[in-house]
Amino acid sequence: MNPPRSLPAAARSSYAECSARERIARLFDAGSFEEWLPPAQRVMSPHLAQLGVPCAFDDGVAIGRARLDGRSVFVAAQEGAFMGGGVGEVHGAKLTGLLRRAVVERPDAVVLLAESGGVRLHEANAGLIAVSEVMRAVLDARAAGIAVIALIGGANGCFGGMGIVARCCSAVVMSDIGRLAMSGPEVIEASHGAEEFDAQDRALVWRTTGGKHRYLMGDADALVEDDVSAFRGAAIEWMTQARPALDLATLEAEHALLDARLNEAPEGADAYALWHRMGVPHPHRLGDMDVAQVRELRTSLEGAGT
């Protein structure tokens, strides 16, 4: 729906550079997006207005229904440029409503284009409760057998409560540009100093929270280029993957995996040491590897039985 900011439409394929609405327009089947609570309905934040902060007509998230490769899906795209994609009362309620509607209407998938710092601090308490309602709604959708896919590739990453929500989803697709974590490096640095986490060290930040690392760890199911059509392809692929129900056996397996990860990780917080322990042959080269090479690397690590 929105024209590109500086490049002709055909040239803009970077997912990170697109706005949320541009991503929707380019990722889903052409013209198939039907928006619910669109901007003209002005369902906005009353709290931002009180604070004298500018509102967005859609409170920073566009939701609705679309087609993906002909299949019916529900869509939510967070606008990372607005308030860092932070979840406030209205924004969260749009996500929760979407997920609850999915349980009723049973689309083939819910696709979350997640770009968020987590709770919108300007709406602190409402944001926190809203994020927990979104989380419950994701798990209800999964319990109903609906695939919920998180796409993570925006410049702001997917942090805070949304980082938790992402890992409640059935699948996570990340680009190498994307980041997935809980606390941002700035918050950690503010709390424990630059020695703990130098937020200015971009390579360190991406080693710790970026798509390549998450993909190697298995916290992302797919790693793609920073390209809208690559995200589209991965979403199509993962939409049809059967996901194990979140039953006791599945959670025991997840627990064993996370327990082993914790117990077998080397001391310290160094990604290189961790990758080395995982069997990555040249950890220091990972930053320079392209996406295809990193995918091959993970395949070979899995083949080696690690």
Partner: protein, 232 residues
């Protein structure tokens, strides 16, 4: 309140709840049945390890004790702010804890959260806030962030935030604000055993917090937005 005093008030002597590091765990008797207690103490930061330890108790309860109610006692300063936890995927560990709470709920266990001291930042998103209901002691401290820090991060005047917080429960700390917004179901006053009894008896199975926030007036829009989306 110290967890030991809380435990003494709720359960008979010899309740067997112990503290191992920051973790609280126990299987006290209450009204003739065993309850699973799991939680945190000493304003625990919740990192990968703490999330997994609590998840383990939930999984064991589901596996071995069908139908046993679960009480999560919450005292946390928030998520652990360490690079190592981020490297190892604290968001995944927290999600896993939330999934274990959800599994317990779906498997017929009533899961209650009780903030008995602090619940700061995101520390209880996947424990108390994932439970059937999260209650609190009246003296509990619940907040996302203190107002001075919020003022710095949002670049909004501290005085402005404080003034607005008098009439809008959304951005100011305080357990009463969370009750008004539906995030906390009720405060436990007076006879704590009676409060626990009531909490166990009427634990909801669905997420009605947006509705409660609207009814109580602290969160007026969420429920109506959810309903609008369902009808759109």
């Amino acid at each position: 309140m110290k967890w030991q005093d809380l435990a003494s008030a709720l359960f008979a002597a010899g309740h067997g709840i112990t503290q191992v590091g920051d973790l609280l765990v126990g299987e006290p008797e209450f009204d003739g049945r065993t309850i699973a207690v799991v939680g945190s103490a000493d304003h625990a930061p919740i990192g990968v390890a703490m999330a997994l330890r609590q998840a383990r108790v939930l999984l064991d309860t589901v596996a071995r004790h069908p139908g046993r109610p679960i009480l999560m006692l919450i005292d946390t300063q928030g998520q652990q702010l360490r690079r190592r936890d981020e490297l190892l995927g604290i968001n995944r560990a927290m999600a896993h804890l939330g999934c274990c709470v959800d599994l317990a709920r779906r498997s017929g266990h009533r899961v209650l959260g009780l903030v008995y001291d602090q619940a700061l930042s995101g520390g209880f998103i996947t424990s108390g806030l994932a439970a059937d209901a999260c209650d609190a002691l009246p003296e509990a401290e619940i907040r996302v962030m203190r107002i001075p820090a919020m003022a710095r991060v949002t670049k909004i005047d501290r005085e402005r935030l404080e003034a607005l917080s008098q009439s809008n429960p959304v951005f100011a700390p305080g357990v009463d604000n969370y009750v008004a917004m539906g995030g906390v179901r009720r405060l436990w006053r007076g006879d704590l055993q009676a409060c626990l009894r009531e909490a166990l008896a009427d634990a909801p199975t669905g997420d009605h917090r947006a509705l409660e926030g609207a009814q109580r007036g602290g969160r007026k829009l969420a429920q109506s937005v959810i309903e609008r989306v369902l009808r759109a």
